[in-house]
Amino acid sequence: MHLAKHVKFREEKFGGVLFETRSEKVYTLNPAATAVVREIKAGADEAAIRQRLKDQFDDKGGSIDRDITALIADLRAKGLLEG
């Protein structure tokens, strides 16, 4: 799993941005989504990402697994993520 070829990621104070430079679309990321993309860039697999996000964020509602699954599916659907 990796960012698509023409997708650039940059961290910002508010979280981060993904920039799909072929379609020239920009996606803003909140801190949690930024953490997921940071892990993807570092080469982590989905299981490792889930664990690391649970270490970083409060998972009282048990939503982390669901949110990560949805985010990754969304990134794939938008052509931002491959593999």
């Binding site: 650039k8 104070k13 941005v17 430079t21 920009v26 909140n30 949805a70 985010l71």
Partner: protein, 328 residues
């Protein structure tokens, strides 16, 4: 988690991505020289042979600026001009930017796109090359692109395709080429373009002198954009057809409140707020990119900027003064 991850990514474009919260621009459009081999009737930069600025950045300054852009993680750059490929360090600049991971677009008139140069651009990894093809025929293209040759530009695009470089086409409308817009979109697709860009020609630069014989009428723009709507539908999924129908005044009024995350860098290191305004918000010969970016938001709020935009409502011809830079 206090905030859902999955709902965190609304889409926008660089042009609609506001700059306020970002640590650096997302896009820098750099006119690397004002020198050009052509002298086009409509050129908004008044470029042409012998038109390089006297104070264009020297080698050390060019690579210092490039290093700052890459250190700031600016993800997307374009090199334009003038004609960027006449810059003596053009390929060195391309190599540096691409090697540092930038997505780089070249905006060219296509006259230097030899097979060798296209192969080199491919090897260096440019994102795309955008070629100005303002006509579907030699007659209209050559009339508009003084000193230019349609067949050379078309051959250049073919060389890009042969080399495997992604191709974009730009089209500036005039009263004598608007009727060819449909054929021009078809030609772009046939040549392998992935994107086609056009909008209204602006009254500035060389266009001020040629407006009376070049500017399309409102009656011509109607069918022009109608054709583009139809072509956008026809090529959907195969080639993106981008066009801006919005008038300049409407666009600038929006920008006053929503500055894009974009810097316009001139050949001499001055940084403009946007191409369609005369305001300069920094000088990379004297200030760092970081300082200029920090000033960028305030510069947009300068009352002279809003004043200029509202003056355009009364006198649209005020765009003729865009090259009389106003330092904020």
């Amino acid at each position: 988690m206090s905030e859902s991850i999955a709902t965190a990514i609304p889409a926008s474009t660089p042009a609609s991505t506001e700059s306020g919260d970002l640590g650096a621009p997302l896009y820098v459009a750099w006119q690397i020289t004002n020198e050009c081999n052509l002298a086009c009737l409509h050129c908004i930069e008044e470029s042409g042979p012998g038109k390089a600025f006297k104070d264009e950045l020297d080698d050390r300054q060019v690579f210092d600026v490039l290093a700052q852009l890459m250190d700031a993680d600016v993800p997307y750059l374009s090199f334009s001009g003038g004609e960027p490929m006449v810059h003596p360090r053009f390929f060195d600049m391309v190599e540096y930017a691409c090697s540092r991971g930038a997505e780089l677009k070249i905006e060219t008139n296509g006259h230097y796109l030899t097979p060798e140069n296209c192969a080199r651009l491919k090897a260096l990894g440019v994102k795309a090359v955008q070629v100005s093809l303002d006509g579907a025929s030699r007659e209209t293209f050559n009339r508009m692109r003084v000193l230019g040759e349609f067949n050379v530009a078309v051959d250049g695009v073919r060389n890009l395709r042969e080399a495997g470089v992604p191709i974009e086409v730009n089209y500036s409308p005039t009263r004598f080429n608007v009727h060819e817009i449909g054929a021009a979109v078809d030609l772009a697709y046939a040549l392998g373009a992935i994107s086609f860009y056009t909008g209204k020609t602006m009254y500035t630069g060389n266009a001020v002198k040629t407006w009376h014989k070049m500017a399309p009428s409102d009656e011509q723009y109607g069918p022009y954009f109608a054709t583009l709507h139809a072509k956008a539908d026809e090529y959907r999924g195969r080639m993106r057809v981008h066009f801006h129908e919005m008038g300049l005044l409407e666009e600038l009024r929006y920008r006053l409140h929503h500055p894009a995350a974009l810097l316009i860098l001139l050949p001499n290191g001055l940084v403009k707020l946007i191409n369609a305004l005369p305001f300069v918000c920094g000088d990379l010969r004297q200030q760092s990119l970081k300082q200029i970016w920090a000033n960028f938001q305030d510069a947009w709020r300068d009352p002279r900027v809003a004043g200029f935009v509202e003056d355009l409502a009364v006198d649209p011809g005020k765009t003729r003064t865009l090259h009389q830079w106003v330092h904020l």
